[in-house]
Each structure stands twice: as C-alpha cells, then as structure tokens.
C-alpha cells in the first residue's frame, strides 16, 4: 500500500479543516486530490508527511504509521510544498547538494531519477534559487524532493499559477516518475488536470465528495447536460438562472452548461422561453459532463 488514510479529522480552533477523511492510494498509483483553496488539501499533506498531528484517525505512508514510525516516513517520502521552500540564498546546485547530504546520499547516486528535469535547470546551476523564474523554481523543488529516491512523492499544488504549457510539461514529468515505480499524491485546483490521474478524490470544505477514476466520476453525473449558446452570453445566463425548470446553469468556455429539473425535458420549450427573453441565434445540443460539472453538482 502506498498511502492509507482512515477517519482523519483535524481542527484549528473552531475551524474543521478535515472531517473524517478516508482513502487509500495503491503503490505505484498517481492519485489526485482535486479541490479549491481552503478545501483542506495542505492540512492533509502535512499530516501525511508527519509535520502535523491529526485530532482523530490513523494513517500510514509506505506502510509506516504517521505517529509511531514518523522517522521512517521522513526517510522514504519526498515533499514539494505549495509554497517555495528552498534556500533562496543558495545556488541551484548548492540546494540540491544540501538536500542530498541531509538524506545521506549524493547527487551522483540518484542522478538517473532527476536527470530529465535537472538538465533543464543545469544551465543555471550557479544562480541563486531566489533569482530563478517560477517555472525553474518548481523544477528545482521537484529535483530536491526526488534526490533521495523516495517511495512516495507528495506534491502540493505544483502547478498553481503556472501557464498551460508548463503545466503540461510538469504532468509529463510526473508520468515518467510514476513509471519508475514512485507512488504520487498530487493536489491541484485545476479540474482539467484530474483526467491525468489514475484515480482522484474530489475534496471541498474538509470533506471528500467522491473517489474514483476520472472516467467513472463523470459517468456518475446524474443528468443530461446541454450546451447552450445565444447572441449575448450574459443575458443568456441571467435568463437561464431565472427559468423555472433550471437545475443548474454554468458558463463553460464558449457555451453555457445547462441541466433541467424535469425528466421529460424538451429543448424546444427552452428555445421558446429564451426567445421570449429577446435572445437570438439560440443553439442547444447535448454534451458530455466533465470533472468540473461533477464537482459543482456535488458541491452544490
């Protein structure tokens, strides 16, 4: 087992950050924790990396208990926090060397594991970490988290604020690491990244909404979604939101995703209603749900 979490709860004074969380990550799995800021993702990461103690529940990482065996966990996991946490005054190479030494290893010994990533920052190896661009910092942090060849890798929002191109490159890197046998738990607020994981947990307000493969999660969506388009998107959203049979209305790229509360919904009725609201060029067609649709339906 890569990670096992059983009935974990954690409160900060009056705030319940995590409420009875349970899930398991298999060895070698790429598991995604998908949820917005404040969902409790970072608290969970800190508990699993033995930096924080839960109020209730138990958890193991690489078969070590987070309380009684915390020293072994620290030796066998890599953790890349959401906030850049390397030494800004040390150079790229010094940071890497520092982390290798702390874990009793050398850069040479595990160079294979980081090679693909390190070659991209190697031209800047004498630059101080604080002077690197965001994308470079992220790559260096990943190298430092990998330098002791961890069994389990924790990545807390590695792609937040990162542009789509760099995000795609980062996920390609994760896939390659997974092929080398590393179990990966990664969190992200970007719903489109969920599809790149083996399994995901949707999390909001400290509670897990659902756990499954990305494919199964969208299959469980309870309604037929329609793509709706008209000449004025803002007026369209307002009209749909005030339609008496509206179940949900969310803008989605160039369309609005609409679901109807009736079982025998006829799109022609909606066209007539929208026309009565002075909208024109109305298009309505069936579409498939995405992870984001599912998340919003569950979070409603």
């Amino acid at each position: 087992m890569g990670i096992s979490v059983s009935h974990i709860s954690k409160s900060y004074k009056a705030v319940k950050a995590l409420k009875d969380i349970s899930f398991e990550v298999k060895a070698g799995e790429l598991f995604g924790l998908i949820g917005p800021d404040g969902a409790g993702k970072t608290t969970l990461f800190r508990i699993l990396t033995t930096l924080l103690i839960a109020n209730e529940g138990t958890a193991t990482v690489a078969n070590f208990d987070v309380i009684s065996d915390y020293k072994n966990i620290r030796k066998s996991v890599g953790y890349m926090p959401g906030k850049f946490s390397l030494y800004q005054d040390l150079t790229v190479e010094e940071n890497l060397d520092f982390f290798a030494t702390i874990f009793g290893t050398t850069i040479e010994e595990n160079y294979d594991l980081i090679k693909d990533i390190y070659v991209q920052i190697a031209p800047f190896k004498d630059r101080r970490a604080g002077k690197l661009s965001g994308g470079m910092k992220q790559k260096l942090a990943l190298c430092c988290a990998l330098i002791h060849k961890p069994k389990v890798l924790f990545l807390d929002e590695p792609t937040t604020g990162v542009d789509p191109v760099s995000r795609k490159e980062f996920w390609d890197m994760l896939k390659r690491l997974q092929q080398k046998g590393i179990t990966i738990l990664v969190s992200t607020p970007y719903m489109d990244e969920a599809a790149l994981c083996d399994r995901i947990a949707l999390i909001q307000d400290g509670k897990i909404l659902e756990i499954d493969t990305p494919q199964a999660i969208v299959k469980h969506y309870p309604k037929q979604i329609y793509n709706v388009r008209a000449n004025n998107t803002y007026q369209l959203i307002k009209a749909l939101n005030t339609y008496k049979h509206n179940h949900s209305t969310y803008p989605f790229g160039e369309f609005v995703h609409y679901t109807d509360s009736r079982l025998n919904f006829n799109p022609d009725d909606l066209v007539r209603y929208l026309e009565s609201k002075k909208l024109s060029n109305i298009e309505i067609e069936k579409t498939n749900p995405t992870i984001e649709d599912t998340f919003m339906e569950l979070a409603k």
Binding site: V165, Y234, Y250
Partner: protein, 242 residues
C-alpha cells in the same frame, strides 16, 4: 482619441538591460469589451500591464489608457482605472466595511458616497453577516469577489484583473465571471489575465503573448478556426510551443 477606444497601444516596449521583456506590442481595446491578455509565465504580460496602469515607464512606444498618455499622465491613469490581482487585493486585518471605506477614501469618494456604495455593495454580495468581520477570515472566493467590487468603487473606465480567479473553487469562479459580464454590460472595460483557458473563451477578444510579442489577437472563435482546434488550450499550446 476615438471615443470607443479606451486602450490604444503602439510599439510599446520595455527593455531591462539587453532583454526586451515587452517587444513593440500594438493593440487596441474597445469600451465595454472583455479583453483577455494571455501568455506563458515570463512572456511579458505583467511588465506590459505595469506600463498600462502607469507604474512602469515604457522604454519606447506609445500607450493611451482611459484617455491619458502613459508617458505624461501616469497619475491620471491611476485615478481612472481599477486594479485587482490575486496577490494584492484587500487588507486582511481590516473588516469588510473598513476595507471599502479605506479604498473609497484612497480614490477620493466623499463620506456620503462611500456610505451609500458600501451598503449597496455589501447587499449585492450578500456579505451582511460578515460586514464587521476581518477580511482575513473570509474564504478566498468571497475575498476575490469583494476585491473586484472594491476595484470598481470609483466607477473606473477600465478595470485590470491579474489572475483574479487562481485557486478559487469552480462555482465561485463562475459567479466571479458573472460579475465581470455585468460590469462589461454596464460599459466598464475589463482587461484580464488568466491561466484557465476556459475563461479565455469568456472574453470578447484575447491576445496571446510569446517572448515579449503579441503573436495572436482575435475572438476566441476565430483563433480556434485559424489554428484548426476545438479549444483555446490547444491554440495556446500551439503558439507558446512554437
């Protein structure tokens, strides 16, 4: 300046040392338009935006924002625009009401006007119960909606939004965009950067910056046709990867 052009940029350039962070960009934004300003990290978006909001002087080129020249009247630009970003928004250790009063004061609104605006804004956002709570205690999504409203307090001609929805949950993200649509429908120009490509589709037009230059500028629909793809994400990947 023609009436309906609220931003006019011509050959705008910023050079740091021997590096052209912004390399002769030219574009225009219309009144009431939602204009998406996209680009990879490091493409020069922030540098360009800083010049447009009057806090960085261009090395060369022209820009007129809200009727004022960025070279000569940077201070007037600041009074006539609103600005919010994910990083700088509101003061966490002031209450909701105090933040509104503070920013209203900064923009020179009268006490009476601030009081009126404050009441309307708190009601519209449904913040009655937390009006006297510290902003730091609010969920991120609420903060972002509040700071957008605060950026509009002085009824600016243009509002600049720098990644306003990063990390915000999907439902709140959409409510935020409804606020953007509303502002635009009332004639406010919205200039917005985002890393969510579905949000790029909500814009009337988008520009994509690559290495300091604007490599594409059109409606999302026409850009997708031009690059023969179904999503803005693919347009972005094609352009930014060369």
């Amino acid at each position: 300046m023609k009436n309906n052009k609220v931003i006019q940029v011509e050959g705008l350039t910023k050079i740091f040392g021997d590096f052209a962070a912004v390399n002769a960009i030219t574009f225009e934004v219309n009144k009431g338009e939602i204009f998406g300003f996209l680009g990879a990290n490091g493409a020069g978006k922030t540098t360009a935006m800083k010049m447009l909001i009057g806090i960085s002087t261009p090395t060369s080129g022209k820009a007129n924002v809200a009727g004022f020249d960025v070279h000569k009247h940077a201070e007037d630009i600041k009074k006539n625009i609103g600005y919010m970003s994910q990083k700088f928004a509101l003061y966490d250790d002031l209450t909701v009401k105090e933040n509104i009063t503070f920013f209203g004061g900064i923009y020179g609104l009268s006490r009476k006007r601030i009081k009126e605006k404050s009441a309307v804004l708190i009601e519209e956002l449904g913040l009655e119960k937390v009006a006297n709570k510290l902003v730091g205690a609010l969920p991120l999504g609420w903060k972002q909606k509040l700071s957008f409203s605060v950026a509009l307090l002085h009824e600016p001609k243009i509002v600049f939004l720098d990644e306003p929805t990063g990390g915000v949950d999907p439902i709140t993200r959409r409510q935020f965009w409804e606020m953007i649509y509303k502002a635009a429908s009332e004639g406010t120009t919205v200039f917005v950067t985002t890393h969510y490509m579905d949000e790029a589709e909500y814009c009337d037009r988008v520009s994509i910056m690559v290495n300091g230059k604007i490599e594409a500028l059109d409606t999302p629909k026409r850009l997708k046709e031009k690059f023969k793809v179904d999503h803005m994400n693919d347009v972005f990947l094609k352009l930014a990867r060369g």
